[in-house]
Amino acid sequence: MSAILSADALNDFIAPSVECIKPVESLPEPQSNELTVGIEGTMPDTRTAAQISLTDCLACSGCVTSSEAVLVSMQSHNEVLSALQQFPGKKFVALLSPQSRAALAVALQTTEQTVTNMVTELLTKSLGEKQFEMVVDTNPFRQLSLHYASEEVLDSLDDPERKRPILTSACPGFICYLESTHPILIPHLSTLKSPQAIGGTFLKALMIGEGRATSPDDVYIVSIMPCFDKKLEGARGELTSTAWQVNGADGTSVRDVDCVITTRELLSLAEAKGIDFRSLSRSAQPTPAISSNPTIQKFLTTRLTNGAADNGTSGGNLTTILSSLLARYPGSTVTIQPGRNIDTRDYLVVSPTGETIAKLSRCYGFRNIQNLVRKLKPAPTRVLPIFGAKRVAATPAAARRVAAKKAGSGEDKSVYVEVMACPGGCTNGGGQIKWDDEAIWTALGLDKPESQRDLLARVDEAYYSASEETKEREYGIQAVVGEFLKATGLEEDKLVRTGYRQVANDIGNRLSEKDALAVASRNDGGW
């Protein structure tokens, strides 16, 4: 038995799954145009025989598929350290997310800016013979994605074909869940890449365009993120060099982001090198020379605020789009409708005459995602069975009540939902330091926090207290993008857009965080 699958992971009742979830790999027969109508469940099965290989182990949907275990396990701090040794010729660049900074700020009892200094000291000066070239903040790439996100939503208002509401595409946990469990909702997803993905494409293409690298393989990007699902995102086939490379790739596909490690793994990386994180220099570091183009350089090195509590800790997609809508409909105001818990909330853009123009919603956490998915899925077309001699007309009064409520709730005006898999947003990601990580708190010389809520409140505070420098609107994103496209020869779409596909994998039954950690932090890094 493989090291990943163990007796613990098997269940007692392994019934053959009703539908085989392995995709049919042969081309389908050309369909005839004849329609037939039949009772649900009795239609002839036109599927061809499926092939199941041992490595997939799809006998039951309760098992962990080997593929995602491999994807996750092959990205760990050990992987980064061995890459540094194995590829001395590559340029190593780190992407640092604001949520990881916030968590480290609490762990190191300092500000978020100082954390950047310390991480830069660690990665560019303390690793020995081969070091990182620079540490880049992901916030500029977030600003790019927010700019395009607003555009996407505004454009969708004029496009009757576009499926609304548009769902945020920055959370790989949610994307994987949708792709494997509710592929019918894929058309709702925003077509934008996440900040991490944009960062990968941007930096690699830029370095090639500016002559500091000859191929995407020359640059090794390590991204430091608050969760494990970002590792799965990093390994996506859509986010590789073949998607954007300008001068005809030689065929080998290189990931835009080569390795994703979590906040906790960054601490492990330091420990593995015998470095006490607390002792790293806290002084300001020289600004990294990322680009030879002054506009791009300024854009990438100016520190950006994370906004206020209303933005949420997952990038602020909703509030940015909300601002754009308010700008598009002058005189309109916002009404906030709290949902049944803090992770769900509606924001209504209301015209001066009181009419709802648009509804935006926040939806964090699996339990709320369930309700969202149920609302969005087309109503089942089957006829519900009824009994007895006569058909009972389902209480018309009830039907009227439901319809009235639906009309008033502005459900049909829903244009955007900021969906995140983690309750509380990204600062509560699975890769962050947890309140009960005794070993980590001890090593940091701190008392264990009272509870996860308590810790999260402190991390959120660190997150929102980030520098209050220039806001994105002063940025002239278009100018920056213009310079980038000139320097690299890329098309705009290749920088910011991506696609999705229905997958037959088990990511819907996600690897639990504990298993992923155990697998990801093993010394051999794989199996």
Binding site: R367, Q370, L384, P385, F387, A394, A398
Partner: protein, 361 residues
């Protein structure tokens, strides 16, 4: 005491996984591998209705919603990953009563194993082989929302049960543990893990408050039965937080994390030689009945505080078949001996449902 078979009906052509007597009306609901559920009259043991077409696979569990006498509501949980909600309507014109399938609750990613309504009927809990326990709330007519998705178990969750008064949920799993959940300030959390069983926990039930042996001083109790052939009793020793019953410090004083402390206080005398699949606790007499893979039905009585003895036993209660479910029920048939008379209902793999009376020797 002895158990005598009162009646036996061939309810389904395939195994009957669970039986659920209505809390106040003379109905019995069954859940069967033939993908249907039947409503059987407890007055004369005739089948009143067959609810089918709602599920594509075995119906594994049924549960009656409390406080809905005029329009009984039944929840069914199935191996097709969904739960169904059915209601009996009375047609105003003809005054005929018919059943209607109202809602499908989708979301679980694997076979559903049990459904259970909370004491007041406001929440429905479902558990599944996908290792999770979901709590649903009915928002308005037939519109259910997921309120919590609890993923604390590490294996298939076999059963869920609610406390008779507090908003406290218990679940039992293939991982040998029982978990207790409560609603915290914003989300449901697992407040206690009860370890002790050495194998799968197949079923559990809280002590009914109306049981003559229930003592508020001693605290709530829970009975669980397991693949390790034992039946255990757990007693609550401490509780705080929202949704707690009376008598404890308000949670505002100590932060709003609810807390529960429970201990295993008894293991019932060994009676089964195979897995014990189901237990039920009588609200009339405080006796416990269990059934299992060895085909036995066993009744236990509490002599002293936490000292239990076997008072009746019947072997091969369904011939050679494993008995999946056993439940106490108020007795309604014509030979009942008074308003508080009880029967035991059992169901098994051969599709039969048997009715038993407990008599003095």
């Amino acid at each position: 005491m002895k158990l005598t078979q009162l009646a036996s009906i061939a309810a389904h052509p395939d195994r009957v996984w669970q039986v659920a007597p209505h809390p106040t009306l003379p109905f019995l609901a069954t859940a069967s591998a033939d993908k249907s559920s039947k409503i059987i009259s407890l007055l004369n043991f005739n089948t009143l209705t067959t609810l089918d077409g709602g599920h594509k696979r075995t119906v594994r569990s049924v549960a009656w919603k409390p406080n809905t006498e005029d329009e009984p509501v039944l929840a069914t949980g199935s191996f097709d990953y969904n739960a169904g909600i059915w209601r009996q309507f009375e047609d105003e014109a003809t005054e005929k009563k018919d059943w209607q399938f109202l809602v499908i609750l989708e979301g679980h990613e694997s076979e559903m194993k049990r459904v259970a309504w909370s004491a007041g009927g406001s929440f429905l809990a479902t558990c599944s082989r996908d290792k999770s326990v979901w709590v649903w709330e009915e928002m308005d007519d037939d519109n259910f929302e997921t309120v919590a998705v609890l993923q604390d178990h590490t294996q298939d969750v076999k059963c869920v049960a609610w406390h008779p008064e507090d908003v406290l949920l218990a679940s039992g799993s293939y991982d040998n543990n029982i978990m207790l959940y409560k609603e915290g300030s914003d989300d449901w959390v697992c407040v206690k893990v009860l370890e002790g069983h050495e194998s799968t926990v197949w079923s559990l039930e809280f002590e009914p408050l109306k049981s003559p042996k229930y003592s508020e001083e001693r605290g709530s109790r829970l009975v669980s039965c397991s693949d390790d052939f034992t039946v255990k009793i757990w007693t609550r020793t401490e509780q705080t937080g929202l949704g707690s019953g009376g008598g404890q410090l308000p949670s505002i004083l100590r932060g709003s994390q609810p807390k529960e402390e429970w201990e295993c206080t008894a293991t019932l005398p060994k009676a089964h030689s195979r897995s014990v699949y189901s237990v039920s606790w009588s609200k009339v007499t405080g006796r416990i009945v269990s059934c299992g893979g060895d085909g036995k039905i066993v009744v236990y009585e509490e002599a002293e505080d936490n000292e239990w003895k076997i008072v009746a036993e019947v072997g091969l209660a369904h011939g050679a078949y494993e008995i999946n479910c056993v439940a106490w029920s108020t007795r309604y048939d014509k030979d009942k001996r008074g308003e508080n008379d009880e029967i035991i209902i059992s169901s098994c793999d051969d599709g039969k449902v048997n009715f038993w009376v407990l008599d003095e020797e």
